[in-house]
């Protein structure tokens, strides 16, 4: 799972509707995989990103390259887009877990695949 997708996730346990994002990454193993940069795609995603959550998540993973606030010229800031690309599209979470800040539900990640299945009483 790439960090961009982590930024789009929220807890989906029944009744867990507030403060259910971002899921906290714990005990993760990361891996960098090169990917072709697509600036149009990055621009398309800028409006969807929860930037503060991304920065906070990165800090916990000891990735400190992103500016604390989104640059005003982000859409056309080449240098920024390159950093963003490396972090959200080339950084993969290979294993670990994600914990909901609200209900504490833990989603485990194995082989890069988060397990989002819920028990019957959580649906």
């Amino acid at each position: 799972m790439r960090l961009i997708t982590h930024n789009m996730l929220q807890c989906h346990v029944r009744g867990c509707n507030a403060n259910n994002f971002p899921l906290e990454l714990q005990e993760v193993v990361l891996e960098q995989e090169e990917a072709e940069m697509n600036e149009d795609f990055l621009r398309n995603m800028l409006g969807k990103l929860e930037y503060d959550a991304l920065v906070a998540t990165c800090h916990k993973l000891d990735i400190n390259d992103l500016p604390v606030t989104l640059p005003e010229d982000a859409q056309y800031n080449e240098e920024f887009l390159q950093i963003l690309h490396r972090i959200i599209l080339e950084t993969h979470v290979k294993s670990g877990k994600m914990v909901c800040p609200n209900c504490n539900h833990t989603y485990s990640i194995r082989d890069g695949i988060p397990n989002m299945l819920l028990a019957e009483h959580e649906v």
Binding site: N44, K48, I113, M116
Partner: protein
């Protein structure tokens, strides 16, 4: 021949051996790719627009390959661990999740520019466990999907409806969750080639402008 969704739950039917067979069968692969291409076409995204697309029941990643070729970034989930295993072996380029569509999806509002799904929807009409109520599962799925799509985005489901009642059940649930849309039938007069695509629209774009 009995329909696979009548035999056992999908994670059992597409267990290890079957998953490998399914992914390795070039005839099935060709048909799947063709249906995926058609689904992507029905998404009706602007020419050259690189979208962030959800693949529901992504299996071994065959339809994801089509999305990739069209320049999209994709996220897929499947309920069969064995299928996901095959997707990993084939170095699928999308982000994969182990997830049951009937439990709803876990994405923030407005995340996806589109959603495709190949040969999955009919499975949701089954009650594989006593706790499964098809209507509740369809509603849970469609309501969370509706929210996860940006306004104006489409969700295209190729599926094999068993009968008209099933189509009505699915359509009814989708409409109650806010979707508009209808059924596209390709090759309606060919018993063999006939294909059903449920095309759902998640509301309308604001002022005709694509939301950023």
């Amino acid at each position: 021949m009995s329909r696979p969704e009548h035999q056992a739950p999908p994670e059992i039917v597409y267990g290890g051996e079957e998953a490998a067979k399914y992914a390795g069968n070039s005839r099935i692969a060709a048909i799947q790719a063709e249906m995926a291409s058609r689904a992507v076409e029905l998404l009706n995204l602007p020419e050259g627009y690189p979208g962030y697309i959800l693949d529901v029941g992504c299996g071994s990643g065959l339809s994801g390959e089509v999305l990739e070729e069209e320049g999209h970034v994709w996220v897929g989930f499947d309920i069969s661990p064995a299928m996901l295993e095959v997707a990993l072996e084939q170095e699928a380029t999308g982000d994969l999740f182990l997830q049951d569509a009937g439990q709803g999806i876990a994405f923030r509002p407005g995340t996806f520019d589109g959603c495709i799904s190949i040969s999955v929807l009919q499975w949701l009409c089954n009650a594989d466990k006593t706790s499964h109520h098809p209507k509740a599962r369809l509603t849970r799925f469609f309501s969370t999907l509706y929210s996860a799509l940006r306004r104006g985005a489409r969700a295209i489901f190729q599926f094999y409806p068993e009968n008209d009642d099933q189509i009505q059940l699915i359509m009814g649930c989708a409409v109650r969750c806010g979707f508009e849309g209808g059924l596209v039938v390709d090759y309606p007069n060919s018993k063999k080639a006939k294909k059903f695509y449920l095309c759902l629209f998640a509301g309308h774009e604001v002022n005709g402008v694509k939301q950023q």
